[in-house]
């Protein structure tokens, strides 16, 4: 290449960099909800949800305990430290391969407590039932919650029931709040991630979300897939006992692993660089995702954690995860770097590099 061409290219690169910087400033600006009405995108865990939470909820309730926006709030009550969390479950269908809405309701909240480093102890269970909902189905849901609570080692200690008119509540909605005891010194949190850290995932991704999509029966796709819903408190306890250098844990639910990676990059103002080849994905998840044009990175899990750990302890962390049945296929998927801050980059199987950004809403099946 001659000098004129290379000079032209470097001018082009610096002009492009100016634009990238401008975009970065816009992205960091104060979030605003532009829509007048709530849409489905606001519930999917992506950018729209994030904007809604920051612009409406955080703005109204703002306090230091809420601001970290981690999976659970960490409360200091003098001699005791507690983790407190809540989650609502509106999944359809209520019964799917691998579990029920009841399993999700228990495991989801247990997991939010576990990834805060707490020992989950007690749950609440609030039910919103639709008029006409079969009692047999309610019993089935509640029995599965009982079984899940037993496995997780927690108790449901209080609850509530409401019934709404036919046509609302899609059968059954459940809210659970959970309380756990924090006896680990220090605080886990994605904002503490730093260059050199390793990023791990505890198992294959995307199983729950794809299972649900297929279970809705609209897609005429048959696959041997079950939801990965499971309580991870035992897995986490083992990890934290073995590896003190764990900086953060996150429960990869709505929005998938991609959302967690972006939360890390944003909270700690670092780059997260992952290798496509290293990310565990089952063949059936890959096949279904290809058929639909969806990226498994954005598909919900319900029993997988993302771990940020000091680079020097990555191997120990992997060993600890793999020694537990739920972490048998744990893998190191990438590293934290200083630059470019706030971005998640993926090194593709193919050897190229691209960004993994937050989606606006749910991953929509593409046909194009």
């Amino acid at each position: 290449m001659n000098d004129a061409t290379s000079a032209a290219m470097s001018t082009r690169d610096s002009r492009e960099q100016l634009v990238l910087d401008r975009i970065d400033r816009v992205r960091r600006a104060r979030p605003r909800v532009r829509e007048e009405r709530i849409t489905l995108a606001h519930g999917s865990g992506g950018k729209a949800t994030q904007t809604l939470v920051e612009a409406i909820f955080l703005d109204a309730f703002r306090n230091p305990l809420l601001e970290p926006l981690e999976d659970a709030a960490q409360l200091d009550l003098g001699s005791t430290r507690l983790a407190l969390t809540t989650d609502s479950f509106v999944v359809s269908p209520l019964f799917f391969p691998g579990g029920t809405i009841g399993d999700l309701a228990v495991n989801g909240t247990v997991n939010d407590l576990a990834v805060s480093g707490a020992t989950p102890k007690y749950l609440t269970a609030g039910f919103i039932l639709e008029e006409g909902f079969p009692v047999a189905d309610l019993t089935r849901v509640v029995q599965s919650m009982r079984a899940a609570a037993r496995v997780a080692g927690v108790e449901v200690v209080t609850g509530d029931t409401k019934v709404v008119q036919r046509g609302k509540a899609d059968g059954c909605y459940i809210n659970t709040a959970g309380v756990g005891v924090l006896n680990r010194p220090g605080q886990l949190g994605v904002a503490t991630a730093r260059a050199g850290d390793a990023v791990l995932v505890s198992g294959p991704i995307g199983e729950h979300g794809i299972t649900i999509m297929l279970a809705r029966g609209e897609l005429d796709i048959d696959a041997d897939l079950v939801s990965d819903t499971a309580p991870v408190n035992d897995l986490v306890a083992g990890l934290l006992a073995a590896v003190p250098g764990v900086r953060a844990l996150r429960d990869a639910t709505r929005g998938g692993v991609a959302t967690i990676l972006n939360e890390i990059a944003r909270a700690a103002d670092v780059a997260v660089v992952v290798d496509e080849d290293a990310i565990p994905v089952r063949d059936e998840v890959r096949g279904a995702a290809e058929l639909l044009g969806i990226d498994p990175l954005y598909v919900a899990c319900e029993g997988r954690i993302v771990v940020v750990v000091d680079g020097a302890e990555a191997d120990a962390a992997l060993a600890a995860l793999r020694s537990h049945p739920l972490g048998a296929q744990a893998a190191m998927i990438g590293r934290v770097k200083a630059d470019p801050p706030g971005l998640v980059l993926l090194n593709t199987t193919f050897g190229g590099t691209r960004i993994v950004d937050l989606l606006v809403g749910d991953p929509l099946p593409r046909i194009c």
């Binding site: 005429d220 041997d224 059936e284 096949g287 290809e290 058929l291």
Partner: protein, 89 residues
């Protein structure tokens, strides 16, 4: 308008001759095969787009492309090896 992916036919409909079952990476789906010039048989590979099989995949042609790529890959490796060897001297 392009998302179309390859799938293997595992079953051609007995009662509905224009429907077949395809498998993609362990995942099964029904597709309409009415656009294919000849009905496929189990073991054929087809290109699937929005629930229809658009085209049968020609294995010979597929192999030809892979052979071309293999050859490019080989000659590239030969060149890299030659480059490496020449450095030693």
């Amino acid at each position: 308008m392009c998302l179309a992916i390859p799938g293997e036919i595992v079953e051609v409909g007995a009662d509905r001759p224009d429907i077949a079952k395809v498998v993609v990476s362990g995942v099964k789906r029904s597709v309409n095969i009415g656009l294919l010039s000849e009905p496929p048989v189990a073991g054929d590979w087809v290109l699937i787009h929005v629930g229809f099989a658009l085209s049968k995949i020609d294995e010979a042609e597929a192999k030809a492309v892979l052979d071309f790529l293999e050859e490019i890959g080989q000659s590239y490796e030969d060149e890299v090896a030659a480059l490496r060897d020449s450095r030693i001297e």
